[in-house]
Symmetry: C2
Subunit: 317 residues, 2 copies
């Protein structure tokens, strides 16, 4: 069935029905009014981030299922809350789509996104549906973080140690092969735990690629860094898989994006204490150090590093 | 100059520069990090609303200037905060646009929007830029409203009096003539004042058209209404202008949207007291009453009324 057969309100109703089971403790007024009302706790700031997913640019149905596309969209948006150390309160979805598209395909994308939202208790609280020649999801996520505890990009200082929360390069390898199956988890629980340590000076999620995102962090903090390529965590069998795909492992490690691991700097040399349930599943891998001066890539083959500071990662035009 | 010549980050930089002068007292961390941080006052809820503006659907450059298109986009989004009685805290802009579009035209749209944002002290706190074949602005506005004071659609009761905050039909008439010049003001100050009276049982902004929006309000409140067509406020010379444009005045009054006046119901018969600065510029016009049963249109010519409950106003598909 085509969208034009169910109509704008028919589509909205179906989306609302799919979203209804996701409850959020912060929702004072949910979907359906002129605006939703969210209630943070006393002493919390509201984190807000917007992201877009455009067919043909961010997702392609010949590379991945509608469900995977939707999961990736929500994961990417919630990952920005994770990088701030915020807990999700809710999100809005502004959907553009052509009236001649199949209802089931559009709903499958939305359903994929709602799965990830449900996993993080992040209810859909509003949005919009518009006719367009382009199929686009524009997502805005709201979170809450205790005042003064938010992780930002700007607090890094020379000498702070750099860590990665998990392997990078997997998403880029899948894209290189033209089939996307793995959807990274937004590191919500880890971001909150890191915020609570009070020792993380700067944090970013790896969306553009390690090198580009490290450059963002360094620029915001007004520092340089030394990144040790051999220590970058990578998936098991990564080098062999890259060679089979005809790609240079180092390029995918440094410039591949959308892994959504957290890249962060820590004051002092004491180990980071994580709550037991996180410590059991998460390895925080030291990958370098913040420093004065520029961004130095150590132990690599060269080539990628030079382009990393300004042009690493994905650019839209 | 084309967008592809300045690049994604070049465009983002230019937008940031245009937006820099808009300060908001609630911004703890502005544009440029993974998320922005907004700080409401103790006892306030966060209102959040998303809206989309798609070229060819919501705006056309042969009908209006880029500046007017941008102003209308922000006005429509902030109007949803007005309808909740919220004060604006900030907004995000997720922009889709083709790399071969002119930078100046895109920036003129954004600049128009920022004018309206500045008028309401609503800073740009984040967003996204994506390549797309479609030119789209997806806006999310955040506001704050004292807990328990928010206006919603659902509190209307039989016997409550219906008011409009100003004339309707002007935007529909301009669209009918194919040239859009007038940009309605979002009724932010009025919405906040109405919320403070504690006597407004339900409120909606006229975006889809009086009849469609009244139907939304009635459905949410579980009531009917009697709307008196002759009392609907309209622009000076409206009937004659409609006839010149070959349009039925009643149709544009009842089904024309995008006027962004507030349509609201009031408990009791005492007049609504507005602060002096608002009282001097605003007439609250009684246009009907909430009632049991259906939605009745009184004193009109008929024709529009029948279609009003379900299909009045704009539909996307």
């Amino acid at each position: 069935m085509k969208l034009r057969q169910v109509g704008e309100f028919g589509l909205i109703q179906r989306i609302e029905r799919l979203a209804r089971h996701i409850h959020g403790s912060a929702v004072a007024l949910g979907i359906g009014d002129d605006a939703a009302l969210l209630r943070a706790k006393a002493g919390e700031d509201i984190a807000v981030t917007s992201d877009a997913f455009v067919e043909g640019v961010h997702f392609r149905f010949d590379h991945e299922s509608p469900r995977t596309a939707g999961r990736r969209a929500l994961a990417a948006t919630l990952s920005d809350l994770a990088a701030m150390g915020a807990r999700p309160l809710g999100f809005t979805l502004s959907l553009s789509v052509a009236p001649d598209r199949e209802v089931d395909r559009v709903l499958a994308v939305v359903k994929g996104g709602l799965e990830v939202a449900a996993e993080h208790a992040c209810p859909l609280v509003g949005g919009n549906v518009a006719a367009s020649e382009s199929f686009e999801l524009h997502l805005t996520a709201l979170g809450a973080v205790t005042r003064g505890r938010a992780l930002g990009r700007a607090g890094g200082r020379p000498g702070d140690h750099l860590f990665l929360s998990g392997p990078v390069g997997r998403s880029a390898l899948e894209r290189a092969r033209g089939r996307v199956k793995h959807v990274p988890e937004p590191r919500i629980a880890l971001g909150r735990a890191l915020a609570w340590t009070g020792r993380v000076s700067a944090c970013i999620d790896v969306s553009d690629g390690v090198l580009a995102d490290l450059a963002h962090l360094c620029r915001a903090s007004g520092v340089g860094a030394r990144l040790r390529v051999p220590e970058l965590p990578r998936p098991v069998g990564f080098e062999a898989a890259c060679r089979r795909a005809g790609r240079e492992p180092e390029e995918l490690l440094l410039a591949g994006g959308e892994d959504y691991e957290l890249l962060f700097s820590v004051r002092g040399s004491a180990p980071i204490d994580l709550p037991p349930e996180l410590a059991a599943t998460t390895s925080l891998v030291p990958v370098g150090v913040l420093a004065r001066g520029g961004l130095e890539v150590v132990g690599g083959q060269g080539g990628v590093a030079d382009s990393g500071r300004e042009s690493g990662g994905w650019r839209h035009f």
